[in-house]
Symmetry: C2
Subunit: 352 residues, 2 copies
DNA sequence: ATGAAAGCGCTAACAC
DNA sequence: GTGTTAGCGCTTTCAT
């Protein structure tokens, strides 16, 4: 059933003790090159590979790292996962992926069970709430942890972020430079770190341009809620409507695109945070702030592996660059935006 | 460092032997309810959880299943992964995700190392080539395997597919019903099972309508290659151009959308295989064949767990339903398509 | 530089 | 119904 070739077999064939064979496998320098070579020959001949469970049982460390995200199917997290897996696998680690589904309780539960497995390290996209200190040591002195996309407020660990405020500031400043003074901000709950940061960048851009912050232009849907017409309409059809919109997350961006197209108001300038496929196939093509999720994953994995290998230096926070991608929708000038308040209905027919 | 509480501690506290405690944990019915209760109390009191490595070492089975896909970040595979993880976790299994990156050699390598870990089961989206029999027993009699999206030709295992030919047939028949007689088929290499099947469905739909199959209307890009103008132009700008296009995979769909919009030929009818975000925000909204990737993942995981639990029944092939989603682009009638052969250039400006 | 013995935490045999 | 013994495959003492 399972491979029967053990370290003992290798040792026997090589004419050494099991321990010596073990030393060779673990690159212990205290072995004669001659015997080491003999052992290696035996390893090849028998096609031996160490039993990871026996090893983990002994060492207390699984050759696996874990990634916990809200949702695996979210394109952003999927790209993060791919980056993590690439780096992990190159270093001989497997990647265990788990999703917490937006529930902090479940996140806790998932992390706990992963720790029981004595994973070597954990990459976490923290959920809505902060991750409290569990029963088992996490972070410095315990199982290495790296936070991605959002920081862990209760735990000082390596963190990989983009400069959300700066990126958002750039995007909004870009809109202002195109003559816009009434710019709507859309996103989900400010309970989320990234939304808070991006809102801060939005405010700062307005301030620097001498524009007043108008709370009525900020439309926040509830967590995971969709942007519906209740939030959207007042911005676009109110007495003093916006000429530009800034969407602070990908899900919201999809909603806005749908709504703008639905009511035929693609004349309104629009920039979204996070790139998406078909952004440049839309009419007009959508300008976005692009973040490199895969790079974030790779970077996080590199930090993690450094810790796994014993690095004890102070936790660091890495800010990765974002790119503003001008495609058209963000370059619409304010004076080009019509002042009409008409609205059409979108039809959805599903014949067959 | 790691939790020090072992089964022995539990047994001691409960005043029983380690084996009895073990029996309780494994729900062995041969334990008095009374002692079982005492053991459970001890487990709770000590917050005991079994050491998975010790268990795996003993039983030769890791409490993990693995998923191997081409690319984790592909939306389809990401959704499959989410489905698998949901079911696996509910059953107490972790999900190890690995990507094979389109290389059969690497796929083999990845699967081999997963088997070394004595994973309980494997869900595989087979790569371009077939998966040959490795050194270790796979499938019936060995480590349970389930193939998703594409079958394994060398190994008779449970398989979860959609009826690609049927779905494709429906889509093309839909176009024919809208008056189209010159329908282009686009996709990547026929080395890929799904493309072959979808092409077969396309041919069958033509046949049934009494339309001749015209090879010049089939444009296949190389594997992972993009559909470029070399393939696209002849279909649209040739002497006898198409009035409709059918794209047989998601990557190609994105390309076609971009190209159609780029040359301003959104008057051509279009249906894509696989749904995508913003499909209904495009102008016109894109009609698609939708497959439920998450359901495919869940179904595969259920089949796998059944095998893991000892089911020895003959391998089954499950065909999941697809849905045709009519949004507009697939409902354009042939006579509405203009015969112009003009072409405009798409501009891409990235200021800032 | 190498080996012998012990044991990581658990469960499969076989007692009782 | 429950306990005892042994050992999964490896690495950690501690000798030599």
């Amino acid at each position: 059933m399972r491979s029967a070739v053990t370290l003992k077999d290798v040792a026997q064939l090589a004419g050494v003790s099991a321990k010596t064979a073990s030393r060779v496998i673990n690159d212990d320098p205290a072995v004669t090159e001659k015997t080491a070579a003999r052992v290696r020959t035996a390893i090849d001949a028998l096609a031996y590979t160490p039993n990871p469970h026996a090893r983990s049982l002994r060492t207390g460390r699984d050759q696996a790292v874990a990634l916990v995200v809200d949702s695996i199917s979210d394109p952003f997290f999927a790209a993060v996962a791919e980056g993590v897996e690439q780096v992990a696998r190159e270093a001989g680690f497997f990647l265990i992926v788990a999703h917490a589904g937006d529930s902090p309780a479940r996140e806790r539960e998932v992390v706990d069970s992963l720790l029981h497995r004595s994973i070597s390290g954990l990459i976490l996209v923290p959920s809505l709430l902060n991750f409290g200190s569990g029963r088992r040591p996490l972070g410095p002195g315990g199982v290495p942890v790296v936070a991605v996309d959002r920081p862990l407020e209760n735990l000082d660990v390596d963190t990989v972020l983009v400069d959300n405020a700066l990126a958002s500031h750039q995007a909004v400043a870009h809109l202002i430079a195109h003559g816009h003074t009434r710019i709507g901000f859309l996103g989900n709950t400010v309970a989320r770190f990234t939304v808070r940061e991006r809102l801060a960048g939005y405010r700062r851009a307005l301030e620097e341009a001498g524009l007043a912050f108008d709370e009525s232009l900020v439309a926040l849907s509830s967590y995971k809620g969709r942007v519906d017409e209740t939030l959207f309409d007042p911005l676009v059809h109110g007495p003093d409507p916006v000429t530009a919109l800034f969407s602070s997350d990908a899900v919201t961006t999809m909603d806005i695109v749908r709504l703008l197209h639905g009511v035929g108001r693609t004349d309104i300038a629009f920039v979204g945070f996070d790139d998406f496929v078909t952004a440049d196939s839309l009419v007009p093509p959508v300008s976005v702030v692009r973040q490199d999720a895969q790079l974030m994953g790779r970077t996080a994995a590199q930090l993690l592996l450094r810790r796994v290998n014993g690095d004890q230096s102070p936790p660091q926070r890495i800010m990765l660059d974002t790119t503003f991608v001008a495609r058209g929708s963000g370059e619409i000038r304010a004076r080009e935006v019509s002042r009409r308040s008409m609205r059409s209905n979108k039809e959805e027919d599903n014949d067959r």
